[in-house]
């Protein structure tokens, strides 16, 4: 540790900090564009220029006459930094004047307005007027720069964060700089757009509105957005994210920096993979009794449907049928309890409950506890764990090969669910073991199972035709899910649950880190967040609050002992794991 003097503040700094980081910890802002703690230092934007000097043992201070970039200067003992002297202020204003020379006056049509570092720094550190009296350099926009990203070329301030990202983090090196001098541009090699799976991150990295997300482009001014902390549900990496919403609609997901979780980034599958929340194929209300007419299925967009007799039914008719088949929640929950009781009464081994690895910890706990309180012999099993391919490691090398284990900077994991470890820990406690879905599906053939409670919560279809066929024969099929599917159609009771954005709870990622998902929006009227749904199903008194359930879990299950304390924004380590397997 060493003492560094920043303006009139004295702080202790760690061994590997630069002056930007040291100043940040002292509560002093040193403006910067090109520096990012996950990227190499280039010190090219010159926004972070400060005066540095040394405090000698006798107390005198000798300052270096020239300015230095704070991002490339390590914070050494007795360094004196001035971030607001006349020289520094003049340099900051001059750098901003230089940057604005060729910057188009696009604020009124630029996505970045409201979260733009050029706007913010000019307001804080720049001049109100420019002395420019010449034509600006103009460049064409490049919508083709990536499938998900568009480049408004003349807004670029040449910080090269995007170029360094594709070189050092994704390793795919699609983005490059062409030309020289003031006519430089960011570009791609012809026919090789920036389509790697981490491409969306360059939009976050871009300090101005040069790189924009096509998904979000022109959709909403950022000052209207409200933000909640959440966790991406796409895979077991469990990236910390921000969910931006307004008026109960989602607009975008952004990574939330969390060194305990994934770092600073997230993959495109997660970033852009939230559209199912708004899908027309949502199960928008609970229902008792099988559907007479096939519903509009998940991921199928046909407007004509055949009923059991083979006659085409119009879209409007289907909608009417579906509306007609929403039952009130109290009725449905009662029917659920009755249905479970009637199967269990003829034998506890005739009923099984499948808990999906998409469930939050509190939800899995409440359901497992409730079921076991009915009868200890009811089998609890784990739902299908979706695995797609292999873990995708970044940065790739120039051949596209993944990096060595100690060089990995980002992983998109093959396990496409956010909370297998959490649900397994609940199952181990209540069932004594984890029974996999294949096993329980097999038992449909070999045992007398006559009733099942299945929890889904997957964005895509999650059961194949053969399993569906077996389930169709059950007398009682309770399905808790948020998407319409053949499964929810054939369910004797369909419980309309909520997506991650519409409910709150905790998920545990691959490394055993438990993070809290905050609720961002309300689902449509007859959809229930799973926590509330299960709270009311198990007839608990009061209202569902995730924190209270966690306290209960901490008391009853040793593996969840850490839930006794605050989870905090970055999450808490629940258990340590060997990659993928819980302790």
């Amino acid at each position: 540790m060493s003492t560094v003097f920043i303006n009139d503040i004295e702080i202790e700094v760690g061994p590997k900090e630069n002056l930007v980081q040291a100043a940040e910890r002292a509560g002093v802002e040193i403006p910067h564009y090109c520096w990012h703690h996950d990227l190499s230092v280039v010190a090219s934007c010159r926004m972070c220029l400060v005066e540095v000097g040394e405090k000698k043992p006798d107390g005198t201070i000798s300052m270096i006459s020239k300015l230095v970039p704070a991002c490339q200067t390590p914070a050494k003992p007795n360094t004196v930094v001035l971030t607001n002297s006349e020289k520094v202020k003049k340099a900051q204003a001059q750098t901003l004047e230089f940057l604005l020379l060729n910057h188009p006056l696009d604020c009124s049509i630029c996505d970045q307005a409201g979260e733009c570092y050029l706007q913010d720094y000019t307001y804080k550190f720049g001049n109100a007027q420019s002395r420019l009296n010449e034509p600006k350099v103009q460049r064409v926009d490049k919508y083709h720069i990536g499938e998900q990203i568009a480049l408004f070329t003349d807004r670029c301030v040449m910080c090269t964060r995007c170029v360094r990202f594709t070189r050092e983090i994704s390793g795919t090196s699609e983005l490059l700089v062409t030309n020289r001098g003031s006519v430089e541009e960011i570009d791609i090699f012809p026919g090789e757009p920036c389509n790697n799976k981490l491409a969306g991150n360059v939009v976050d990295l871009c300090p101005v509105g040069a790189l924009c997300s096509k998904d979000f482009l022109y959709k909403k001014r950022v000052w209207w957005l409200k933000t909640q902390n959440s966790v991406c549900q796409g895979c077991s990496t469990g990236c910390s994210i921000h969910v931006d919403q307004e008026e109960n609609r989602l607009y975008r997901l952004r990574p939330r920096e969390n060194e305990l979780a994934q770092g600073s980034f997230m993959c495109d599958d997660g970033r852009f993979g939230w559209k199912y929340v708004e899908s027309e194929s949502r199960l928008f209300g609970p229902r008792v009794g099988k559907l007479q007419v096939a519903s509009q299925h998940h991921a199928v967009g046909n407007s004509n449907h055949a009923n059991g007799n083979g006659t085409a039914v119009s879209h409007a008719q289907v909608a009417l049928n579906e509306l007609a088949t929403v039952d009130p929640w109290p009725t449905v929950l009662n029917a659920t309890r009755q249905a479970i009781k009637s199967v269990v009464d003829s034998g506890a081994d005739r009923f099984a409950v499948v808990l999906s690895p998409m469930m939050f910890c509190e939800e899995a706990f409440m359901l497992a506890k409730y079921i076991k309180s009915i009868n200890k012999k009811i089998t609890l099993a784990l739902g299908p764990v979706p695995v797609v391919g292999e873990d995708d490691l970044y940065p790739k090398d120039y051949k596209g090969e993944p990096p060595a284990a100690d060089k990995v900077k980002f992983t998109i994991r093959a396990e496409k669910c956010p909370n297998r470890l959490g649900v397994e820990a609940v199952l181990k406690h209540f069932q004594g073991e984890v029974i996999g879905f294949e096993t329980i599906a097999e038992r449909l053939n070999t045992t007398k199972i006559d009733g099942m409670y299945l929890v889904g919560g997957y964005p895509d279809a999650w059961l194949d035709a053969s399993v569906l066929g077996k389930l169709d024969g059950l007398s009682t099929l309770i399905v808790q899910d948020f998407m319409n599917s053949p499964l929810t159609d054939m369910a004797t009771i369909a419980l309309a649950s909520a997506t991650f954005a519409e409910r709150q709870g905790t998920v545990v990622n691959h490394s055993g880190l438990a993070q809290e998902v905050q609720q961002s929006i309300r689902g449509s009227t007859d959809v229930r967040p799973d926590g509330r749904l299960l709270f009311e199903l198990s007839q608990r008194q009061g209202m569902y609050k995730a924190a209270s359930i966690r306290t209960e879990m901490a008391k009853e299950i040793p593996a969840f002992g850490a839930f006794a304390g605050e989870i905090g924004e970055l999450g808490i380590q629940l258990f340590t794991t060997v990659e993928g397997k819980s302790a």
Binding site: A43, S44, V68, A91, Q94, F98, N133, E134, R180, G181
Partner: protein, 439 residues
């Protein structure tokens, strides 16, 4: 008393480029002398000679060599900067075209002294004749055990690679050169780390100029004392002095433009009158560039400035630079001259850091507008502000191109301001051509 050329002594001789004639003239004796010494002794000799780099910065060559880490495992690289692009400079070109072996011998000596394993001769692409001359000379050297393994039985091995650039001034900046050599965009690196610690391919590297290499050959051949006997000794402890012969390029409005070798320290006036036939067409010199346009301008009453490492600085110029003297006559408008220099730097700025990328282009545009008769007096203040805010001296840029871009503006506006003001207030439009080839 006229000076007998040493570096240029073989210029004009028939077949001066061949190894045979070079040897007949005493070539490679210096190399043998070097091999008879331990490498640290060679470094010492070069330090003792007071040789300062001829590439423009004038840094003590022997001192630079001592910055290499001792006892390093793995390759050390010696890069020779043949990217000569400072406007007005052509001494390296003549040296390579006329007497490549003198330079190459110096390279082997320097490689030996610095324990370099590989040398890269980075040659600007436009120097095709130099390239062909060097290529042949290098082949001759390999064929005669002057390069490759165990040179002349000394135990020292050196390979040299001839690398051609692709037309960019910024490849003359040492880390720009290194980046270009590595096949990347020539964006100079931030320092630290310095090339001596982490240079080409992240290995310890020394970058030296071509004329410097030729001087090394002569220092080893004739001795450091000979080198010290030429030039102007140091005036104070902080001044390393200006020793040895220097190739002065003279171009512009003179009767006899060309290259002349003289001991360091001749005045600009003497150089123009005695060695370049005087200002042409009977005119007088209005301004003289002392060492490549990056250095700025000497005014007409500063022509008695000594052109050594210390002289031009005393007259408000950036330094001696490459000692490329350009003479501007009194019928030429300084507005046109300044526009030309600003246009050059705007074109050559690598674009990496904000002040240089934007500042050079801005000043070129302002001067273009002044030349079109639409300047205002406020523009002169803006230009002064720009020139004071870009460069490694104020600390606002990564490399010295910005200082080179700023200095002509500073000098022109300080020494010729009345001319600029008159130009603007008269609303005059420039009569000179728009420079072709610029964007």
């Amino acid at each position: 008393m006229s000076f007998e050329p040493v570096l240029l002594r073989r210029w004009g001789k028939p077949n001066s480029q061949s190894l045979e004639t070079y040897r007949a003239d005493g070539g490679y004796a210096a190399l043998k002398k070097a091999f008879a010494m331990e490498p640290p002794k060679v470094v010492e000799a070069v330090q003792k000679s007071g040789l300062r780099g001829r590439g423009g910065a004038g840094f003590s060559t022997g001192l630079k060599w001592t910055f290499l880490p001792k006892d390093v495992q793995g390759p050390i690289y010696l890069c020779i900067n043949g990217d000569e692009s400072e406007p007005g400079t052509f001494n390296n070109r003549v040296l390579l075209e006329e007497d490549p072996h003198q330079v190459l011998e110096g390279i082997v000596i320097s490689g030996y002294a610095t324990k370099s394993t590989t040398a890269y001769l980075y040659l600007r692409y436009e120097y095709g004749d130099c390239y062909r001359a060097c290529e042949k000379a290098i082949q001759e050297m390999y064929a005669n055990n002057l390069l490759g393994k165990n040179i002349l039985g000394s135990g020292y091995s050196l390979d040299i690679y001839l690398h051609r650039g692709a037309c960019a001034y910024i490849c003359g900046e040492e880390t720009g050169l290194i980046e270009s050599l590595e096949g990347k965009r020539a964006w100079p690196r931030i320092k630290p780390p310095f090339p001596a610690i982490e240079g080409a391919f992240r290995r310890p590297t020394v970058v030296n100029n071509i004329e410097t290499m030729a001087c090394v050959t002569q220092i080893l051949d004739r001795g450091p004392e000979w080198f010290q006997s030429l030039g102007i000794p140091s005036e104070n402890p902080k001044d390393p002095g200006s020793y040895g012969p220097k190739l002065y390029c003279i171009s512009g409005h003179v009767n006899k433009p060309g290259l002349v070798e003289l001991p360091l320290g001749i005045t600009a006036r003497e150089l123009i009158d005695k060695h370049a036939g005087g200002v042409w067409k009977g005119r007088k010199a209005k301004a003289v560039v002392p060492g490549g346009i990056s250095m700025g301008f000497l005014s007409a009453d500063e022509l008695d400035t000594k052109l050594d490492f210390a002289g031009p600085g005393k007259a408000g110029c950036l330094g001696l630079g490459t000692a490329a003297v350009i003479v501007i006559d009194d019928q030429t408008s300084m507005v046109d001259v300044l526009y030309n220099t600003c246009r050059f730097f705007a074109h050559e700025s690598c674009g990496q850091c904000t002040p240089c990328r934007e500042g050079t282009a801005w000043s070129a545009k302002i001067l273009s507008r002044i030349r079109a008769g639409q300047g205002t007096l406020k523009d002169l203040d803006t230009l002064t502000d720009i020139s004071n805010s870009i460069g490694i001296m104020p600390g606002t840029t990564i490399c010295g191109l910005a200082d080179g871009a700023a200095w002509p503006i500073k000098n022109a506006l300080k020494k010729f301001r009345p001319e600029f003001e008159e130009y603007i207030t008269s609303g005059r439009r420039s009569q000179s051509f728009e420079v072709a080839g610029a964007h």
